[in-house]
Subunit: 674 residues, 2 copies
């Protein structure tokens, strides 16, 4: 009675929504702007298309290796998922329509500056992909997959020539398995997503105050006492590292020290710098035994991770712990160390030597940069572009993360417009700019878990990936959002769950297999940006509230806002008016349907005022539309009352922002008053 | 522009749909009919409820084993998925609210007649689950999970006492990895689903004419020449067998012989009974070398699969191959074998001896039953209840599959009303009835693949599972559908994809990330039942058409039909009228929206007339509603024209049945004529 395999929430107003969708698609094709994301360096679009049917096969010329064979199989599997056509593996070159030509191998361990360029030529009869090494092949295969579409004659790709290479060599995603454990299937599918958008560094963080989630054979109490049984075995780590290599992705492990290390002390309290070891979160940098331990630990991890870089964290040390420890104070006095930062500087220098002794290059957060830091240390900037520019000016290579904190619920546009060579770095000399290696999106798990992680990472990270791969001047926001939507759908074929999570969580929190009215509300709210969410909610143990469920960015609200802007500026089309009215009617009428559902579940009870606010926002919006349409003069008093309400409605309620309120404010502001 | 994480197809008419859904839920609770499926043998519902919060833990008393520890972990993982609450593993008994008490172990290899009973007592303060062995514990844990719901105070289960045990000891699901390979993740998640509905036999079929998909180390050309590289390694098989055992599921392997064996001959043509070995599909049962080969093969497989039963197929032998082989004809004459059936009888007797020599009991399809078949052979009936009754009357144990062919797109109701002890078997004596062990749902993959398999198996197989577990007299169809909907949703927490597949395939075939109008059509069409689909479509290589995508049973069409019946019989409520009109308006207006989308994709172009038919059906339905409402007299001529059209519309077009047509016919027939 209650479930249906197909959604039952089918609608009377869908014509306009549907038309909008279609026009988006057609537009992309008409402009000749192919839905490749990241956009390639050079594209020439030709006439005609290459069709993909059951006879399609891939063969190889020149250099080959098992990794390339696996890449071809993966390519065909994704293509099968997208088309529903089973393809034969292992075609022979004389029969295949798609020939891959690889000149030679890439490095045994993927290096920072390896060639990732490729040349893809699609004609109506065949496809040729050429690259210097397997990395370029991997990138080119993804470009091909993004070009696949269905039309009235079959599945096809357009005739096109692509010459492509990345702008930055370091294009990363950090997944924080420290705050919360992230199961390996979740890691793997996000590596698949990274491959799809040509990211090449997986920055994997294993420990934080909250937990230690990787197996140390040398110091097993690390995981035994601080993982709750949830940790990566070394065998699993090796499997993930191999999985990443198959996808042209380096794995840079991070072991944050000397702070954020409470979890280390559960098994090894002697490392702690505070008085109560198990409550301490900073290591004791004054004892030789600390360095002996870390030397052994880093040796073990340096052997486990083949990458040339090893990240030792170094962020956010609170000197207070050291200042309240008499022994440490004593040490500092004796050695004339003036403050916590200087003490950390000494620690960093020691750690750097240990890392270097294993032929690894140290990477660290902003704070590791000191006057005497060795020049090959890579600085990851979380504080902002000025610290990145500062590092480059001082001859340090750096990676930007400030501006790419995808846990903070910013829009794709906001991330997209951040450029590693923008702001402070824009003033760098060309030589200095070369020190800026790239950037990393950071998926912190303070208040995100493996359950909803996909919906925080995707699709927005594809926009960041474009910033790091594509030419600097590509920054048209509308075009970005068009392609982001297509990439988002395609990522589903890679197994990413970002498009499924919200619906699953809405069902869960409502207990209703088809929570129609809750969906309407969820479609136009967003979690607060930045750290405001943490201020509004205290308990993030169970991530099962609406602010956990909805995507960081409401597409509907963004589209409604664009329409409201056109209406208020007098540039709207009749279709805009129709669409705006349809949405506002939907929102106005939703409250009456939703309230009874909200009463039934403790997880959504607090949404009652948000739903009522949406109704009121919509009522004001509909009135404003009428006033604008009829060119009516409105009472200034009423308008002020409405604007006061709209401004209050856009503030967080139940840890959610009601996005249409500010768009309706645009409409109200556009009406005429006495 | 085009994608949104939340569905945008939100509607003006959703109030009625939504209200319908809610009323279904409330009804189930009010009746005191708990959403357990299969319904337990005995239930006593009490007052109050037990709440599940972050402090919830499970502990164990009495016998324990690693399998039970894994079961507890799995239980908590599913509960976390359903609630979003992370639970701590490994609670201690003094603190846990849920105590499991197991008396002793079950058999080292799960046996046919093992005790699966359990006793589950839920009070407002705690939960106690008791069972004789781990199998009963597994069953009881699933009952608990089905009771979990959300309400205004939290997640909870009702106070209840359940005493439960199955009606039949053999409750199976066949997955056919012969026609098409089924990847291990798909097998695993379907084993999870089997556990959820208390099925206990996984009948795993590995080969058919189309392919041979399991590794033989003794005869490696079997998989090397006939699997296209897609086969289960023996290590994978062992992993699946262990995975099944963890879930209280036996694995009965099937190696169908002597027919449906074309794939065997690709590597070993000497086994073939036809003139052209590689085109032959029957073994040569006259050569000693055949038996020598099979003896070696069965030895290898008997060692790989621990279950006491081994299925050797035996179905659908076409004697023509043997009749056109002079050597075989010669042999038959010399040995006075009158026909192919007799020749197969000899073959079966030989194979039975080989199977028995490995201390296994042979199982076979109907055809293996001959006059001299040993009495311990188990007969699986695919021909129908009469062959099952016949076997039982002759003292053979049997398993019913006729009536449970879930590849044939029948409704849950149709399967549900089939009883292994119904029809022919109803006349058996109580002693004879004991020979009927149970039944198996059969997921044949002739025209189903791993991609859409979940949506063919679930949720309908839960209804079959109830028939096999629950008391015979439980057969209320309405109640079954209510619970089926809830189980269907819960199966999502086990990772089953049946509720996702249709939407994914609609996106794929339309190239639209939000194909609103296509969804409306898809929601009310069904693939033809039985073998008609194979007659209408010739190429099932790529399963990417709408008849592959939609579920076998349209819930919307069934609900609409129930309303149409009430309207035509004069028992409809005002809400029924409102709902019928809302649906008919939706369908009428959909065609104008859908046609342009259909033109854009080759996979859906042929749906144009189906969409137009839906519009016309809806127009006739709306007219009939008006006529009935106004009590109008209708022209007999017009009515006949309409009925002629409706009868034609219900016939397959584009390999699809337009389900509402027959319901509208009910409405038209209820109108008054001159």
């Amino acid at each position: 009675m209650v479930n249906r395999s197909l959604p039952s929430f089918l609608c009377g107003i869908s014509l306009t929504l549907c038309t909008l969708s279609l026009s988006g698609f057609v537009f992309a094709e008409e402009k000749g702007s192919l839905p490749i994301m990241p956009a390639p360096a050079h594209v020439v679009v030709g006439e005609g298309e290459f069709f993909i049917d059951g006879s399609f096969g891939v063969a190889t010329k020149g250099y080959d290796e098992p990794r390339l064979a696996r890449a071809r199989r993966r390519f065909l599997d994704i293509l099968s998922k997208e088309t529903g056509i089973p393809f034969k593996h292992g075609a022979i070159a004389s029969q295949a329509h798609f020939i891959i030509q690889t000149i030679g191998p890439s490095a045994a361990v993927q290096q920072l500056d390896e060639d990732e360029s490729y040349n893809l030529v699609i004609s109506t009869n065949d496809v040729a992909l050429k690259a210097a090494n397997p990395l370029g092949v991997l990138r080119g295969l993804q470009t091909f997959l993004q070009l696949v579409r269905i039309n009235e004659r079959g599945f096809s790709v357009p005739v096109v020539t692509v010459d492509d290479a990345p702008r930055f060599p370091w294009r990363g995603l950090l997944i924080d398995s420290g705050h919360r454990f992230v199961p390996t299937p979740v890691v793997k599918r996000n590596l698949d997503g990274m491959e799809a958008v040509k990211l090449n560094v997986f920055h994997w963080r294993f420990a934080d105050d909250e937990g230690f989630h990787i197996e140390s054979k040398k110091f097993p109490l690390l995981q035994e006492k601080a993982s709750g049984g949830l940790y990566y075995s070394q065998e699993e780590v090796r499997e993930i590292v191999g999985y990443a290599r198959d996808r042209g992705i380096r794995v840079v492990p991070e072991f944050d020290m000397p702070c954020h290390t409470k979890s280390w002390f559960q098994g090894y309290p002697e490392l702690a710098g505070g008085k109560n070891p198990r409550q301490s979160s900073a290591m004791d940098p004054t004892r030789e035994s600390t360095y002996k331990f870390l030397s052994g630990f880093i040796r073990e991890m340096a052997a486990l991770f083949p990458d040339s870089y090893l990240h030792t964290g170094g962020d956010e040390c609170d000197a207070k712990e050291w200042e309240t420890n008499p022994q440490i104070q004593d040490y500092m006095r004796k050695n004339s160390i003036k403050d916590g930062a200087a003490l950390q500087g000494r620690f960093t220098a020691r750690i750097e030597k240990i890392v270097a002794s294993h032929k690894k290059i140290m990477e660290g957060w902003d704070e590791v940069l000191q006057a005497n830091t060795p020049k090959d240390v890579v600085i990851q900037s979380w504080r902002g572009p000025s610290s990145l520019a500062e590092a480059a000016r001082n001859g340090y290579r750096s990676v930007l993360s400030s501006g790419y904190y995808i846990d903070l619920n910013q829009s794709a546009k906001e991330h997209y417009l951040v450029d590693p060579l923008g702001e402070g770095a824009a003033a760098l000399t060309p030589e200095q700019k070369k020190f800026v290696l790239g950037a990393e999106a950071t998926m912190w798990t303070d208040i995100v878990s493996a359950d909803n992680m996909d919906n925080r990472i995707w699709p927005r990270t594809a926009a960041i990936a474009e910033r790091l791969w594509s030419p600097e001047q590509i920054k048209d926001i509308g075009w970005m959002y068009q392609r982001l939507a297509i990439v988002s759908q395609k990522l589903g074929y890679y197994g990413l769950r970002h498009r499924l999570i919200t619906e699953e969580m809405l069902e869960r929190m409502s207990g209703d297999p088809d929570p129609v009215a809750l969906r309407v509300l969820a479609d136009v709210v967003q979690p607060p940006k930045g750290y405001q969410r943490q201020e509004l909610r205290t308990d993030f143990t169970a991530l099962n509230h609406l602010d956990d469920a909805v995507p960081p960015e409401s597409d509907t609200a963004r589209e409604f806002n664009a329409i409201a802007q056109r209406i208020s500026s007098g540039t709207a089309t009749p279709q805009d008016w129709q669409q705006a009215r349809a949405w506002l009617v939907l929102w106005r009428d939703n409250d009456a349907k939703l309230q009874s559902l909200l009463k039934r579940s403790y997880l959504i009870q607090d949404l009652a005022p948000v739903s009522t606010n949406l109704r009121r926002v919509a009522e004001i919006g509909l009135q404003a539309l009428d006033d604008l349409h009829e060119n009516r003069v409105v009472s200034a008093e009423l308008r002020d009352t409405n604007i006061t309400f709209l401004k209050s409605a856009v503030e967080p309620h139940a840890v959610l922002l009601l996005m249409p309120a500010s768009s309706v404010e645009l409409l109200v502001n556009a009406t005429k008053t006495q």
